[in-house]
């Protein structure tokens, strides 16, 4: 064998060994000790990086929850109770029961209820048009219908209904709250999903006086306070000409829905049967 090859091999091997030794010590010195539980927690999370938990992404949430060592105020909205139970198991904690939530659109002033008074042909963005004018129907708090909430949703769970011009939330909603932040009019709210997805809420956020709200929209809350009086559980409050139903106190009795003179209080997913039966009863009487 040519001697030069031997020299080269020895030199390379020597270099390799030296580098390996240096790297070994450097690695020991600058070792980042990471809690193995972070990886375990991150594995269970949804991986959507939606930001619904309030952290920059899933990994960030995992780091935060491990560091905190408790589950107080920590929740993964897309994962729900199931994921949080797994996270709790990793951390050796008791999972806190949290009611699943869903986004609710609190405006019913669509094309039919709040007729168009002017025609807006500028940039199709709610944030931009809210800064320019009150809205095509004239309501200063109403939905502008350009779909900033739709763009913000990473779960394809909210869409604009072409006939009404209003956004509709679908079952896919994980209550990450991206649409809540995107809406310049603060119309969207995260509320309890409710048993069997049954919910009751005031579908209006207009704070103007009743007469003015009514002029712009026939289904506006006019702040008459009838619902406040009829509610047996004191779940409804009236402030700034607008009624608000506290979903923690509401027992879904539906008395307010029938009482509301403008139909601003909405009920969702209740069986139609009861209503139909009532109607036939009324006809028979």
């Amino acid at each position: 064998m040519d001697l030069i090859i031997v020299y080269a091999m020895v030199a390379m091997a020597g270099l390799g060994i030296t580098a390996a030794v240096v790297l070994y010590f450097v690695a020991q010195k600058f070792k980042v000790i990471e809690d193995p539980r972070i990886d375990q927690v991150a594995e269970f999370l949804a991986g959507a990086n939606c930001g619904g938990c309030g952290y920059a992404g899933c990994r960030n949430f995992a780091e935060a929850v491990v560091q905190k060592g408790s589950l107080e105020g920590m929740n993964c909205p897309p994962g729900g109770a199931e994921v949080m139970a797994k996270v709790a198991a990793v951390l050796g904690l008791e999972a806190q029961a949290s009611d699943p939530q869903i986004a609710v659109v609190r405006c019913n002033g669509g094309k039919a209820h709040s007729p168009q008074k002017v025609n807006y042909d500028g940039a199709q963005s709610c944030a931009s048009s809210a800064a320019l004018f009150a809205g095509e129907g004239g309501c200063k708090n109403g939905c502008l219908g350009h779909g900033d909430c739709v763009t913000a949703c990473s779960f394809d769970a909210i869409h604009i209904d072409e006939t009404t011009g209003l956004p509709v939330v679908h079952d896919e909603c994980v209550a990450c709250g991206a649409c809540v932040k995107a809406c310049p009019r603060n119309i969207i709210e995260l509320r309890k999903r409710g048993p069997k997805d049954r919910r009751i809420f005031v579908s209006c956020v207009n704070t103007e006086k009743g007469a003015i709200s009514k002029k712009n929209c026939e289904v506006a809350c006019i702040g008459c306070g009838k619902c406040v009086k009829i509610c047996p559980f004191e779940a409804i409050t009236l402030q700034n000409n607008i009624a608000y139903i506290d979903d923690a106190k509401c027992r879904l009795c539906r008395k307010c829905v029938a009482e509301c003179p403008t139909g601003a209080i909405h009920e969702l997913n209740f069986p139609v049967k009861a209503k139909a039966a009532e109607a036939t009863e009324a006809v028979e009487n």
């Binding site: 008074k117 002017v118 042909d121 500028g122 940039a123 963005s125 944030a127 931009s128 800064a131 320019l132 004018f133 009150a134 809205g135 004239g138 200063k140 103007e208 003015i212």
Partner: protein, 445 residues
């Protein structure tokens, strides 16, 4: 004569100055005046009268609140019927004072004659005090309280008073008519501004499409010392503060700084006239010249109108037919804002009302092809396509790094875009959001 102009960007929209030959008419006093409480840039004024109070023309009805604010005077004489919210140009409700007119009785001490008062008796401090008391704001459209401009901050020195007679907005002719009809008043106003700010020289800039105004003002200026009149090349937005300074003095206002940092104070000719009336005639800002224009109007014209007059009344006077018109714009076509209803009151900043006839439509919005025309026409040297894109995607770090705060919202980019993209709408949004972020960061520090 070599015409001056600013160096970068600019567009040439059709001028359409159809009311240029119409003399300023005095518009009748309205039967009901609605005076908005927020008429200036900065903090809104606070009402000092209540329901049932009797007021005379020129009486203070709302006082200044804070440093950048202005007081408001009653434009009519009569009785305050209520202080309630009133729909403004945007359709939002804002507080206003409603005054039912009875006769036209002016407050004592106000000189309402047209006699020229040439002798300047007031001292520097007295002029600033008068400008503050009389509620003078920048009448070019920005409604910045005038006294604030005149109080030169320490470490700065005012060298030039620059008078904006450019009126680069198409259609509008209120400044043009004022220059032709009140040249001496404007000159005295300019001298008052010079005295108040300590500036030794005044430069008046007028675009070359108003040769009669240039000739007249040049002639009149010879009777006064240190006032020079310059003709400027016709180019939009020549009337922008920074563009006008560049055109007349060759100086450039640094990013984020005020004109005073290069020794200039810019005022509109309308403001100069208002300052003359305030100081020499003791007359508060209760009326202004407004151009009511539009190709579909039977009788467009220029009017001296009391603040608080309904725009619907003005339009009715000019032969407005709601059936044939598509859009009412408060201001000019480039920077004006479409209004949601004609039944809104005039404010100090209303320089014109433009009615756009039916059939005129926006270019359909198509994708950006990166042709770069918006960048070429931007008078501030910005990249509107980039700012608009970043704003629409909420990337406010990019808008900040690309100087979105320097945008003067002239709309040249939006005007020139072959794809009809609403560039300015997005840039304006980005500007307001970036501004909020920058301010909150400052307050944390």
């Amino acid at each position: 004569m070599r015409l001056k102009t600013f160096k970068i960007g600019g567009v040439h929209p059709p001028e359409n100055k159809i009311t240029a030959h119409k003399a300023i008419e005095s518009f009748p006093v309205p039967t009901l005046a609605r005076v908005m409480l927020h008429q200036n840039l900065g903090v809104a004024s606070v009402a000092t009268v209540g329901k049932g109070d009797e007021v005379k023309v020129g009486q203070v009805i709302a006082r200044q609140e804070g440093f950048i604010s202005s007081s408001i005077h009653s434009p009519v004489s009569g009785i305050v019927t209520k202080i309630e919210e009133c729909v403004d140009a945007s359709g939002y409700r804002k507080p206003a004072i409603f005054i039912e007119t009875k006769g036209d009785e002016w407050l004592e001490g106000i000189d309402t004659t047209s006699a020229l008062v040439t002798e300047i008796k007031a001292s520097k401090e007295e002029i600033i005090k008068k400008v503050t008391e009389m509620g003078i704001v920048g009448l070019g459209g920005a409604t910045f309280p005038s006294q604030v401009k005149l109080m030169v901050p320490e470490g700065n020195k005012a060298e030039y008073i620059i008078i904006n007679g450019v009126e680069c907005e198409p259609y509008l002719t209120s400044d043009h008519r004022l220059m032709l009809e009140r040249p001496h008043e404007i000159m005295i106003g300019v001298q008052l501004l010079m005295k108040a700010s300590g500036a030794s020289k005044a430069l008046i800039g007028i675009e070359a499409n108003k040769p009669d105004a240039i000739d007249l003002l040049t002639k009149v200026a010879q009777e006064y010392t240190n006032i020079e009149v310059y003709g400027l090349k016709v180019k939009y937005p020549q009337g922008g503060e920074k563009q006008l300074i560049k055109a007349l003095t060759g100086r450039e206002v640094p990013s984020g700084k005020l004109p005073i940092s290069v020794g200039c104070i810019v005022n509109n000719v309308g403001t100069a006239f208002a300052v003359y009336e305030a100081v020499q005639k003791n007359k508060p800002l209760v009326e202004r010249v407004v151009t009511i224009t539009g190709k579909g109007l039977k009788e467009p014209g220029n009017f001296m109108v009391r603040i608080g007059t309904s725009i619907a009344d003005l339009l009715a006077h000019c032969g407005y037919n709601a059936e044939h018109e598509a859009k009412i714009v408060s201001g000019g076509p480039m920077m004006g804002k479409a209004v949601t209803t004609p039944d809104i009151p005039m404010v100090k900043g209303t320089s014109g009302i433009l009615v756009i006839e039916e059939g005129v439509e926006r270019v359909a919005i198509e994708p950006c092809i990166r042709c770069g025309r918006c960048t070429r026409v931007c008078p501030m040297g910005l990249e509107p396509y980039l700012l608009a894109m970043a704003s629409s995607k909420k990337m406010y770090d990019i808008t900040e790094a690309n100087a979105v705060m320097d945008c003067i919202e002239c709309g040249s980019c939006h005007y020139i875009c072959p794809a009809g993209r609403p560039l300015l709408d997005y840039v304006r949004l980005g500007k307001s959001e970036t501004g909020k972020i920058m301010r909150s960061r400052k307050s944390v520090q």
